[in-house]
Structures are given as structure tokens and as C-alpha cells.
């Protein structure tokens, strides 16, 4: 199957604001196959030992939910999406309340190809972590695999939850379009972590969050490796006192292309948002930050802050950054900023003058740059998990 | 100097002041105390002319240079030019306008109104320096944006600096002492004391008697439910500090 046979209108490179710097026309003519539900492989215990860090773990293999590999926990209701449709139709229905964001391509693409998904609900305030592993198996196929999993997560009223989404793959060529929908009911809190470190393939991911009254959404996002990777995050602060705090690190190398799209919509008064994106760019890689804060007419007394900082570790890397503000309410405090620069020569020199070799000094300063975002991660084992990925990135500097 | 006669005022249709009577003479220091929501701050805002408050009854007569003027007929800026000053409980932050620019503009407007010549920027700097020394304030104040990023104490000190520069006849200081640490309280208290003269009057609105260690009042008024329910001497403030408002409120209700 060719993508172009199923999808007619691809976003126009340069013309479409959201795809201005990302050209995915190379996907059009590619052949892909979709793995069917019965196509099961079990993952080995070594992998489990290394990668399973949640109290509950939901495993997708090549985009298909694998109940047998998953690990359950009493704090979470976990159901395959097709069963959830029957059991909780009104809940699934309500997940469609999440408004459309500016770019709908990825969302629609996922819907077209989605074969498998999971419904998760957290009701308690116990400090338990649910982990979703999206795993691409180490097995050769003639035709690359297209995976299109969908997750619907409900944070029930007054609940508290941590949610980790890891994307790992051993495949050499694939296309994955994972979409996660999150609804936070009144007074709930969610700590969301998304770590994407597939080594290859094309990744077009999306996370959408609808926040109701007095909810808190804390996110940490990591995008690394792979030739073409894009993540879209849309946050709708739908009711008063909703609060969102997003920090992110992206680390590109080789000729990688990493695209970060983030939109925060302040739709009600007294809402708060913060975005803190840090980019590391090596070799001749390209990274994009397209961040938008939109404050609607009624969203008075909103607060929003957005910062994108980029550290250029080579002379050939390219960064496109576009921190946007759209303000329709007057009683707001909004600020945004973006920077791009190389390592601070003074800092390097200072370290060198104290006997630190240049290589080590560069690593130290780069690490300190990333740590500003990483330090916002509260769970120590997730922090370590990302730290390990970053260490190997710094090692190659 | 200022006669407040049977003033009632409301905001959004809700009556806050219910017939206030108060006479203030030159050289006097008044203290207005009272529990939260009793209308103390409203009184000072009504005198300063805050647009949110509707006067439903009464009058305020301002007696200056042997002329009686109806304060309620004047715009807020005209009242200020006539010598009415209000120290804000929450001074407003105004980004991108420097403290000095603002003070000079205000000072010159008042000069113009009173038929005195403007002061040029250099003379004004000297004048300002003198006032700041007088109040023991550092120069760093002056180039910063108006109240932006000021600590609570700095904001209140800045209010006192404005009072010193504009040299008003009647000053309502609305909780100028709240949120201050001991050192800031001393600076503010001593500042007010230094600005007290025979030809002006100061009205302190406060919860605490601690400011009274620096400024000795002639009268202490207790407000409750939009009315002045008791007036006494300095000792009344200490009495309230010790015993609270309950007995006074009960007394007034009987």
C-alpha cells in the first residue's frame, strides 16, 4: 500500500504554516504494510528488565496492543479501545470533545490507519506510574511497517497520575503515527513524560490534552535520534485554574530532522501555561520549534511564558524557531522568547583555565544547558532514563 | 480643612459606606482602624475619587486658602493638584515608565496648576535627591520602572517618597504599614513623621498600633460596617490591639 493511495491532501511544505519547515512528501510514494491484530510476538525478559519502569506497563508491538506483554495494576483501568467503545461509549464519546488544533494532518492520518488502541483511566491519588511502551520489533520485513496506535487517557476527578510514554524501535525503516488523547477531569493532576528515541524510521506523533477546572498538567518531552521525527502537542486550557507546564529537550545529530510543534490555547480565565524547550543540535541536523500561545477573548488574567533556547554544537546545523503569541484578552501576562547560539566561549575558557580539557568542558557546558530542562523532571528514575540517552549523545560530541 | 459630611457610597450597587462624618483640621493626625471589610479603604478611595465608587449621599468640603471647595465635583487629578493624597494599599505597577519620569511629570503638573513654574530635569534631580536623603532612601529607586518588581516594603516607601515630593495638604495612607518588616516599618514611620507639619493633616488607615510608635495620633476612629462607631485618643488603639473589636462593635450595636 502506498500512502498516497489512501491520503490525498498532504500538507504543503513551506505553504502550510505548521509544515513550513518539514517536508514529508517523501512518504507519499513509499510502500507500507499494517500489522494485523493476531500478529503477536513476545518480548524477552532482558528487555523487560531494562525498559519496564512503570507500576503498570502497556505494551504496543508494531502499533498493536499486546495484552500478554503488558503488566496491570489495580490503580488503572486498562482496556483495548474496541472493548472500551462497548463498555464506556460515553467516555470515548467525550474524548472527541478535545477541539481540533491548527494542524489536523497527523490526527487524521492516525484515524485512517488506526487498528489498535488502548483506553486508560486513573481514579486514585496513589503515586503510581503507568508506562506505555511503543516497541518496534527486531525482525526484518519486506515492506516497512506503518503503525498507528491510539491512546485515550482519562484522569478522573481529584486523581493524580504519572504517565510515561516511551518509543523504542529496532526496525530500520518504518512509519509510526502514535496519538495520545488526554482528558483531565476537575482537580486532577497528570505528570506526563514522553521519550522518543527510536534509532530509525519516521515518527509523526501527537498528544492532545483537554484540561478542565483546576487541573495541572506537567509534561516533559524528549525527542532524539531518528532521521525524521515530529511531535505535536496541543493543550486546551478549557476551564478556569487549569495549569500547564511543559519542558522539553530535543537533541539532533547527523542529518536528523526533529520537529517540535506546541500549541497552548487559553480558553478560560485564570489559566496558566509555561513552555520551556531546549534544543541541542549537532552535525548537519535540522531542528524546528514552532510554539504558539493563543489567549482567547474571555481568558482574562491568563499567564503564559514561553522560552525556546538552542545550543548549536556544530557549524552546519540549522534551527528554525517561531515562538508565536496570539492575544485577544487584555488582562494577561504573556512573554515569549527564543535564542540560538553556540557554547559560551568565556565559560569554556574558564573551565579550561582550571585544567579541564576542552572536550570535557564542552560536554560539561552542554550538559548544564540540557539539565535546566531535565531538572524539572521529578521522578528520579525517569530522569536517569533520559540522562542515559543524553549521555551517549554528549559522548559523541 | 476637610469635612466629610454623612457620606454614603456604593460599588456595583452594594453600599459600603453608610454615613461617614469626619472633620480633619490642619496639623492633625487621625488613625482609622477597623476589621476587614468595614469600609476603611473605601473611604480613602472616595476621598481620592476612584471611579468605581458611586457617592449616594453626603458631601466632602475641602477648605483651602480660605475657600471652601466641593471635593466630589473634582476629577481625581484635580483633587491631587488641590493637595489631596492617597497612599495606596496596593500601589499599581506601571511598566516602562521610570519612577523619576513619573515623579517629575506629576510634580510639574501640580506646579502648573498652582501657577508655579516648572522645574527643569536637573533641578528636579537635586530636589528629588534631597527628599530621598530626607527619607533615607537609596538612589537605586529612582531609575527603576514605577513599582515594577518592587518588594512590598519598597512600594510603600515609594508611596511615602511621592508624598514627600508632591507635598500634599491631606494624606490618606491606606495600610501603608502592612506587609512591612521592622526596618521598613521604621523607615516608613519616620518618613511620615518627618512629613507631618502644622499646615497639613495625615490620616492613617491601619490594622496595627505598631506604626503609632513613630507617629502620634490626635484621634483614633473605629470603623465598622461603613460607619465610624467610636472615636477616642491614642489609648484606644492599644486597647483594640489587646482586646480586639468585639466589645466596641457590641457597644455600638446596643
Amino acid at each position: 500500500m502506498k500512502l498516497i493511495d489512501r491520503i490525498s491532501d498532504f500538507p504543503k511544505y513551506r505553504k502550510n504554516e505548521s509544515w513550513k519547515y518539514s517536508d514529508i512528501s517523501f512518504l507519499k510514494e513509499k510502500e507500507f504494510q499494517i500489522v494485523q491484530e493476531d500478529h503477536h510476538h513476545f518480548i524477552n525478559s532482558d528487555f523487560k528488565k531494562k525498559e519496564f519502569i512503570g507500576d503498570a506497563v502497556v505494551v504496543f508491538i508494531d502499533g498493536v496492543l499486546s495484552i500478554k506483554d503488558s503488566k496491570f495494576h489495580e490503580d488503572f483501568t486498562i482496556l483495548p479501545l474496541n472493548q472500551a467503545f462497548l463498555r464506556y461509549p460515553e467516555k470515548i464519546e467525550s474524548s472527541f470533545q478535545i477541539p481540533e488544533s491548527d494542524s489536523t494532518f497527523v490526527d487524521n492520518l492516525n484515524r485512517v490507519f488506526s487498528e489498535s488502541g488502548v483506553y486508560i483511566e486513573k481514579k486514585s491519588t496513589n503515586k503510581t506510574l503507568i508506562q506505555l511502551i511503543f516497541y518496534g520489533e527486531n525482525k526484518k520485513t519486506d515492506i516497512p511497517i506503518l503503525s498507528s496506535p491510539r491512546v485515550i487517557f482519562f484522569g478522573a476527578e481529584n486523581s493524580n497520575c504519572s504517565f510515561l510514554e516511551t518509543h523504542i524501535s529496532c526496525r530500520e525503516e518504518f512509519l509510526t503515527i502514535p496519538v495520545t488523547d488526554i482528558i483531565l477531569e476537575k482537580n486532577s493532576t497528570l505528570n506526563y513524560y514522553r521519550v522518543k528515541h527510536e534509532k530509525n524510521g519516521t515518527h509523526l506523533g501527537m498528544t492532545k490534552i483537554l484540561q478542565k477546572e483546576n487541573t495541572t498538567f506537567n509534561a516533559f518531552l524528549f525527542q532524539g535520534d531518528s532521521p525524521f521525527s515530529r511531535h505535536e502537542l496541543s493543550v486546551f486550557l478549557n476551564e478556569k485554574y487549569a495549569k500547564t507546564d511543559i519542558s522539553a529537550i530535543y537533541a539532533s545529530k547527523g542529518s536528523n530532522h526533529i520537529d517540535n510543534q506546541v500549541s497552548v490555547y487559553h480558553q478560560s480565565p485564570d489559566t496558566e501555561s509555561e513552555q520551556f524547550f531546549k534544543g541541542l543540535l549537532k552535525d548537519s541536523s535540522t531542528a524546528i520549534f514552532n510554539g504558539k500561545v493563543s489567549v482567547l477573548r474571555d481568558a482574562q488574567r491568563s499567564y503564559s511564558k514561553q522560552l525556546n533556547q538552542n545550543l548549536m554544537l556544530s557549524n552546519k546545523a540549522t534551527i528554525f524557531t517561531k515562538p508565536q503569541l496570539e492575544i485577544d484578552a487584555d488582562d494577561v501576562k504573556c512573554s515569549h522568547g527564543a535564542t540560538s547560539g553556540q557554547l559560551n566561549r568565556e565559560e569554556l575558557f574558564y573551565l579550561q583555565s582550571r585544567g579541564v580539557s576542552k572536550e570535557i568542558a564542552i560536554k560539561m557546558v552542554s550538559k548544564a544547558f540540557a539539565d535546566e530542562a531535565l531538572n524539572r523532571v521529578k521522578e528520579p528514575f525517569i530522569k536517569n532514563y533520559v540522562q542515559n540517552i543524553l549521555d551517549s549523545y554528549f559522548w559523541e560530541i | 480643612m476637610l469635612t466629610i459630611k454623612d457620606i454614603s457610597a456604593s460599588v456595583d450597587g452594594k453600599e459600603i459606606l453608610k454615613g461617614i462624618n469626619l472633620t480633619i483640621k490642619a496639623g492633625e493626625v487621625h488613625v482609622i482602624m477597623g476589621p476587614n471589610g468595614s469600609g476603611k479603604s473605601t473611604l480613602s478611595k472616595v476621598v481620592a475619587g476612584h471611579p468605581d465608587y458611586q457617592i449616594t449621599n453626603g458631601e466632602i468640603v475641602y477648605d483651602i486658602n480660605f475657600k471652601k471647595k466641593n471635593l466630589l465635583d473634582m476629577e481625581p487629578d484635580v483633587r491631587a493638584k488641590e493637595g489631596i493624597f492617597m497612599g495606596f494599599q496596593y500601589p499599581v505597577e506601571i511598566p516602562s515608565v521610570s519612577n523619576e519620569e513619573f515623579l517629575r511629570a506629576a510634580f510639574n503638573e501640580i506646579c502648573k496648576y498652582q501657577g508655579v513654574e516648572d522645574m527643569d530635569p536637573l533641578d528636579f534631580q537635586d530636589f528629588l535627591k534631597e527628599k530621598m536623603d530626607f527619607l533615607g532612601m537609596g538612589e537605586k529607586f529612582i531609575n527603576r520602572e514605577l513599582n515594577v518588581g518592587f518588594s512590598g516594603g519598597e512600594k510603600k516607601r515609594n508611596e511615602i517618597l511621592q508624598m514627600a515630593v508632591l507635598s500634599p495638604k491631606i494624606s490618606f495612607l491606606d495600610e501603608t504599614d502592612s506587609g512591612l518588616d521592622v526596618d521598613a516599618l521604621r523607615v516608613v514611620g519616620e518618613g511620615i513623621n518627618k512629613l507631618k507639619r502644622r499646615d497639613n493633616a495625615i490620616i492613617l488607615i491601619t490594622h496595627y498600633h505598631r506604626l503609632l510608635d513613630y507617629v502620634k495620633p490626635d484621634f483614633v476612629h473605629v470603623m465598622y460596617d461603613g460607619k465610624i462607631v467610636k472615636t477616642g485618643e491614642e489609648s484606644l488603639a492599644y486597647d483594640i490591639e489587646k482586646n480586639g473589636y468585639d466589645s466596641i462593635i457590641k457597644e455600638s450595636q446596643n
Binding site: R297, N310, M312, L313, N315, K316, A317, T318, I319, F320, T321, K322, P323, Q324, L325, E326, I327, D328, A329, D330, D331, V332, K333, C334, S335, H336, G337, A338, T339, S340, G341, Q342 | G49, H50, P51, E75, P76, D77, R79, A80, K81, F85, M86, F88, P91, V92, I94, P95, S96, V97, E101, F102, A105, A106, F107, E109, I110, Y113, E145, Q162
Partner: protein
């Protein structure tokens, strides 16, 4: 506080029309009209060919329409492309200028006749399609400075015009620039010779008077090596219910070590309080720092026009060249302004600085849209951008769309933006310190815009503050 009626009565004091006999071409746009314009101007052939070839291409171009900023379609065949006050033939001396015109400019605060000329500024006054007078010619020519209507330059200095016209804004750059290239009738031309510091500020004053007429002026400024010039542009138009099109093109060329400072106070009629009428201001302004060490600085105060699309840009081609953009844009009622800049860094060690202040009131929309592009060749380029918005009232919008494209990672870029508002609390606070509402607004506006105002020539900055105050009164409180 000042009521709305009071405000409106002094809203737009330049809204009068001048009754004057005109010489104009019929409505419509075709080759014959273009030939007629060229003939009226007595242009050499190269100019006519330039126009006609652009016109061919323009016919194939599509009018730009964007969802957020759409406008009533313009019927290009229902516009007049040439309208000029009738005059006696021959080169004009000041005595020959129609007294009605002198009067008009006097009323606009731009005296051009001998007695009342502004001492430090030379003025080129453009009335609809033509330049009517240029002052201080003698002194300027003593320094070798050429400052004349572009129609005259085409004839007297064809070698300069031919060499530079269309080199910064290519004739097919965009729809409106192409239209301008085909039909422009007048505008100013400036040439500053090598190592000359222009002895006074140069200024052009644009006045749209005729109805159903588009204004398509063209400005070309060339600063030769080591020279300096400060140029000021002002503009007004009568109040009319129809929307009028203004599609100017301004090209600046700064050669090695030259500096051009270009200041604009734009006060075109913005339509009435319901958004009826007003000028469509679709202007292409671009400068090129062609030589090393060149500097181009744009300063603009945008207070008029119903709809503005304007991005004064700098191409930083020479090594060590500098581009600057200082802007205050105020929108009120139903005005829409989409303005900003492009800084294209090509040379090494190039620097750019962007300071943009947007003030929006009532139902208006104020957008900053800017691009900073660091080309792979722009080693050690630096950019600093600051875009602040001030909202007055809760029905307006303020948008910030900065694009940063860095293809040489030795570059250092910094972008910052904030939003704030003028609140009734602030006004009351200032009132309670003796400042009238008018003074309070003036203090706030001055404070918000001071980084831009200090870049304007002194007399302009006073004018600019007054203009903004006037435009804002009645919207606050």
C-alpha cells in the same frame, strides 16, 4: 475622562479635500494607460520598457488574500492611475506652484513656500501622482546631493536610475510591488555622493487627494560609499467612504560604509469608527547594505490606514553591515496592521536589531510578523529582537509571529516579547498623583515607545507622541 464624542471631533484633522483642477488619465489599467503615464512623464525608452515588461508579468500574478486580513476586492479597472494638479508647463519655480497647493501643504503642517520653509529639512511634496515642489535645492546641489522627483531623475540621471531601480525590490517581487513598478508616477529620488554627509534631513510628504485614485509612489535612495543621509516620510489623505489603495515601493541602497536612516510617520486616513473607508497601505520597503560596513535603519510610526501590510526589510549583504528596525504601530477602531521586518543576513559579522511596539485598541488587530534569516555564509551574525504589545480594552487582538531561520550556527539570536495593558487602575493611580488623563496616557505611551521615539528626529518624535495620544483618547477609561 474624555468622552468618545470629544475624541471623534478631533480624530483626523487631515481629512479635508483640496479643490483643484486636475489633469488625469481615465480609469482602467492597460498598456495604453502605461504608455500614457510614461509619455506624460516624458520618460526615456528604458523606463517605458521596464514598465511594460513588468505589466506583462503582473497580469499573471494573483492578488494575495489571507484569512486573517482579508479586504474588499480591488477593482483594478475602476481606478485612476494618474491624477495631477494642472500646472503651467516648464520646470517649476516656487512662484509657479498653485497657491491652493501651497495652502494645502501649509494646512498639513508642511510649509513649502520660501518664507515658511522648515530650516533644517528639505522637502519634496507629492500630491496624488506627482511631486509639486522640492525645497532647498540650491544648498543640496552645492554638496552634490541629488534630491528630486523620481520622474525628473529618470530624465536627468538615467544612468543612476537604470543602474539601481528594481535591484532591491525586483519588479516581480510581489503583486503590489509589480503593480507599482508598472504604473508608478512619482516619488522621490536621492543620491548622496561618496563621503558626503547630507547637510540636512530630507523629507517627502505624500498627500492623496483625488478620489478613486491609487497612489503608487516610488522612492529610490542611493548612499554612495562613506556617505550619510537621514530621510523622513510623512503622509495623509482625505476622509472618504471608499477604500483607497496605496502601493508604494521604497528601495534603499547603502554602499560601503554608507548609512541611511529612514523615518516614517504614517497617518493615512484609517476609516471611521465603524471601519468604513480608509487607506489600504500595501507597501514594499526594502534596503540593501550592499557594501561592507553599511548601515540601514528603518524607524516607523504607523498610526493610520485601514489595513497595513508593511515589512521594511534589510538585506545585509556586505560584511559587518548593520540593519535596524524600530517600529511603533497603533491600531484603533477596526484597523488592522500586519507589520514587521525581514533581516536577511548574508555577509559575515552582520548585525541586526528589531524593536517593535504594537498598541491595539477597540476592535483592532495588531500583528508583528518578522523574519530573521541567517544564511549559511553569515558567519558570526547577531540579531536581537524585542516585540512588545500593549492592549487597550478587551476587544482588540495582538499577535506576534517571529520567524527565526538559522542556517549558520555561529550566529547568536535573541528574541523577546511581552504583552501588557493600560488599565483603569494605572490611570487612576496617575490621576491621584495630579496627572490628568491626557498626561497619564502620554506618559504611558511615551514610556512604552521610548526606545523607538528616541530614534526619530526630534520634531518628529513630538509629533508622533501627539498623534498617538490623539488616536488613543476615548479608548481608555
Amino acid at each position: 475622562m474624555v468622552g468618545n464624542e470629544q475624541f471623534l471631533s478631533k480624530d483626523y484633522k487631515y481629512g479635508f479635500t483640496t479643490n483643484i483642477e486636475v489633469d488625469e488619465l481615465p480609469k482602467g489599467l492597460n498598456e495604453d494607460i502605461i504608455k500614457a503615464i510614461s509619455k506624460k512623464k516624458g520618460e526615456p525608452e528604458f523606463m517605458l520598457n521596464f514598465r511594460l515588461s513588468v505589466f506583462e508579468k503582473w497580469k499573471t500574478m494573483a492578488e494575495p488574500h489571507w484569512a486573517d486580513f482579508d479586504y474588499n476586492p480591488i477593482d483594478y479597472q475602476n481606478l485612476k492611475y494618474y491624477s495631477a494638479p494642472k500646472k503651467k508647463d516648464g520646470p517649476k519655480s516656487m512662484d509657479e506652484v498653485d497657491p491652493e497647493l501651497l495652502d494645502t501643504f501649509e494646512k498639513l503642517g508642511v510649509p513649502i513656500h520660501e518664507r515658511a520653509r522648515l530650516a533644517g529639512v528639505a522637502i519634496d511634496a507629492v500630491f496624488d501622482s506627482v511631486s509639486v515642489a522640492t525645497t532647498h535645492q540650491e544648498l543640496l546641489s552645492k554638496h552634490g546631493v541629488i534630491f528630486c522627483p523620481i520622474s525628473e531623475a529618470v530624465k536627468k540621471h538615467p544612468e543612476l536610475v537604470q543602474k539601481y531601480l528594481g535591484t532591491v525590490v525586483p519588479p516581480t517581487d510581489n503583486f503590489f510591488a509589480s503593480l507599482n513598478s508598472a504604473v508608478f508616477s512619482d516619488g522621490s529620488f536621492v543620491y548622496i555622493p561618496k563621503n558626503v554627509r547630507c547637510p540636512m534631513d530630507l523629507s517627502t510628504y505624500f498627500r492623496i487627494n483625488a478620489s478613486e485614485t491609487g497612489q503608487f509612489e516610488r522612492t529610490l535612495i542611493i548612499a554612495d560609499e562613506g556617505s550619510y543621509v537621514s530621510y523622513i516620510e510623512g503622509c495623509t489623505a482625505p476622509m472618504r467612504d471608499e477604500n483607497q489603495l496605496h502601493a508604494a515601493v521604497v528601495e534603499l541602497i547603502a554602499l560601503k560604509d554608507a548609512e541611511i536612516k529612514y523615518s516614517t510617520v504614517q497617518n493615512w486616513y484609517a476609516g471611521d469608527k465603524n471601519g468604513v473607508g480608509g487607506i489600504y497601505n500595501f507597501v514594499t520597503k526594502r534596503g540593501k547594505c550592499a557594501g561592507s560596513g553599511a548601515k540601514i535603519s528603518w524607524t516607523q510610526v504607523e498610526a493610520g490606514s485601514a489595513l497595513t501590510w508593511k515589512y521594511p526589510s534589510v538585506i545585509l549583504q556586505g560584511d559587518n553591515s548593520i540593519g535596524e528596525f524600530y517600529s511603533v504601530a497603533l491600531t484603533n477602531n477596526y484597523m488592522k496592521a500586519d507589520t514587521g521586518t525581514k533581516m536577511i543576513h548574508i555577509g559575515k559579522n552582520t548585525r541586526s536589531r528589531i524593536i517593535s511596539k504594537g498598541i491595539s485598541a477597540e476592535y483592532s488587530t495588531n500583528t508583528y510578523r518578522g523574519l530573521v534569516r541567517i544564511a549559511p555564509s553569515a558567519e558570526n551574525a547577531r540579531n536581537y529582537s524585542q516585540c512588545d504589545s500593549l492592549l487597550v480594552g478587551d476587544k482588540c487582538s495582538a499577535n506576534t509571529f517571529p520567524y527565526l531561520e538559522v542556517k549558520n550556527s555561529s550566529a547568536t539570536l535573541e528574541h523577546e516579547a511581552t504583552t501588557s495593558k493600560i488599565s483603569t487602575d494605572q490611570i487612576f493611580y496617575l490621576n491621584s498623583r495630579g496627572l490628568s488623563t491626557e498626561s497619564a496616557i502620554s506618559l504611558l505611551i511615551n514610556g512604552f515607545c521610548k526606545e523607538v521615539f528616541k530614534e526619530l528626529p526630534l520634531e518628529f518624535s513630538v509629533e508622533a507622541v501627539r498623534l498617538l495620544e490623539m488616536r488613543l483618547e476615548g479608548s481608555i477609561g
